[in-house]
Amino acid sequence: MRRGAALFLTAALVTVSAVPAAAYLKLGTKVGTRTVTLKWSQLPIRYFITDRGTTGVTSTQLQQTVQSAFSTWEAVPTAQISSQFVGTTLANPSSGDGATVIGFQNRPDLERTLGATSFLIDTTSGAIVESDIFFNTAFPWSVAAQGETGMFDLQSIALHEIGHLHGLAHSAMGETELRAGGRRVIAAESVMFPIAFSAGTILGRTLRADDIAGIGDIYPNSTYTRGTGSISGKITKSGKGVLGAHIVAFDMRTQKLVGGFSLTDDGSFVIAGVEPGPHVLRVEPLDDGDIESFFDATLNIDVDFRTQFYDKIVVVPKAGGTSGVELKVVAK
């Protein structure tokens, strides 16, 4: 979900409660005692577009923009995904009828939400059965090639929501500042960062390394399995695991940034889909967004530690993993 006003983007998981499954984040759900990744088991993803436009955007432009956003995700060379536009519909995007619907909806009650994605899932397998996306017409929208001052770029927000639709949760690869009315993005390096760039920009139309690693992790193809690697280890503080620490891997050759989280009580983390080669690691508390934008509110996320670097260069092998990283953090 993307929120406006203070311009937040948060995932609205209306149909089921989802919990993070792994790095970037991926969406997950509990099946018995296990957490499984939410993903589509049947491809292509067949979707409908609502037959309604909004001020400045016709339904045809909406359909073209959504299709373009799907194509951007499908162009990721390390992921095997596909989609199919089925047709237009008069149904609302959140109908729970088994059909995936994407469209505009007037939700003035969600005064900081630009768009949201909801799911219907098979709770025995984690397979996504339906996913609906709405874009809030309480905000001004644009599909202009270069963006329009004061208007939100539909393609950027569609790219973010379609990332959710595929099973990605929010990334913490960004920096914010607190201002009156909420947080403002200073910078971000992931389409899946929960807070949108300012109105008028089209910066959010381009997938970043973090997004690409994430989608490849959920829908890996042979290029992913043969050509990327992983980094795993744990984050500890005073000998105990840290839950919810954000770890950033910086590729010292490509200058790409891929992030992940420690997702278990012992502080374990895995960052997969990383390009081979030397990386430096940095760990930080989750302090650039509402924790609820990333994690289930019931989880005890630890943000009481200082940002720091890892003192080893981590070399990621192709089609393999570097394990045993232990990053010891200290309380603030």
């Binding site: 690869m173 960004g174 920096e175 403002r184 993005v185 200073i186 910078a187 971000a188 390096e189 760039f197 300012s198 008028g200 920009t201 910066l203 970043r208 950033v248 910086f250 010292m252 050759r253 200058q255 940034l257 081979p276 080669g277 030397p278 430096v280 940095r282 930080e284 200082r306 940002t307 720091q308 670097f309 890892y310 003192d311 080893k312 260069i313 070399v315 990621v316 092998p317 192709k318 393999g320 570097t322």
Partner: protein, 238 residues
Amino acid sequence: MIRRTTVIRVLRVACCAVAAGGILPARAAAQIYLGHDIPHRGSLEISGGAIGSGGYDLGSLSAEETRNTGTGTGPFVLFSTSSRTDASAGLQGRFGVYLAKSLSVEGGALVGRPRISTRLTGDAESAPDLTATETLTRLVVDGSVLFHLAGASFGGGNGVPFVSGGAGYLRDAHEKNEVIETGHEFRVGGGLHYWLGQGKHRFGMRADAGVSWRTGGADSAETYRTVPTAAGSIAYLF
């Protein structure tokens, strides 16, 4: 009469002295190097010892995020890195064949454990500066041509300088040996053999100094790094 004879004798003595002075030094040099049959075409030399390589910069990078409009100019720098390969020591072994008295070719291998250091600074959220490191296992296999400067020998011909040039294959294994990266190098230099004795089989000492231009391996930049090297070895000629 008497006076004329005396003059002639003096001149003869002077001529002999000049002749001896012109011949003897040349004869001495030929005895040690050019005049002996060692080394000759087909002579072999093996050597082994220690080598030191100078450190070199690997460049600086920034971890950047895309800046939102209205929050400043240029990319947002999350932190910066500055990397270098530290100076290191290693072991080398060489095997050479003389193609002529003053010309030989040789192949060799060098094994070292250079350390890569990356200085992490300027963190946007004030993470303390830190140096992250990694130790490589580096193997260089090379071939060289040596030209022995017999005319510049000294120490009764035991010390013989040489100049050399060659090229090599570089193989870097990162820690845990899970990632191997290769490259190559070109090298020029010079050195000195000092043979202990003048027999057909002789031990000696060898010193090398030079400059290598390396690319590839753990260093991904598509450029050549200039690396000074110096080595000391024990050599055996037979």
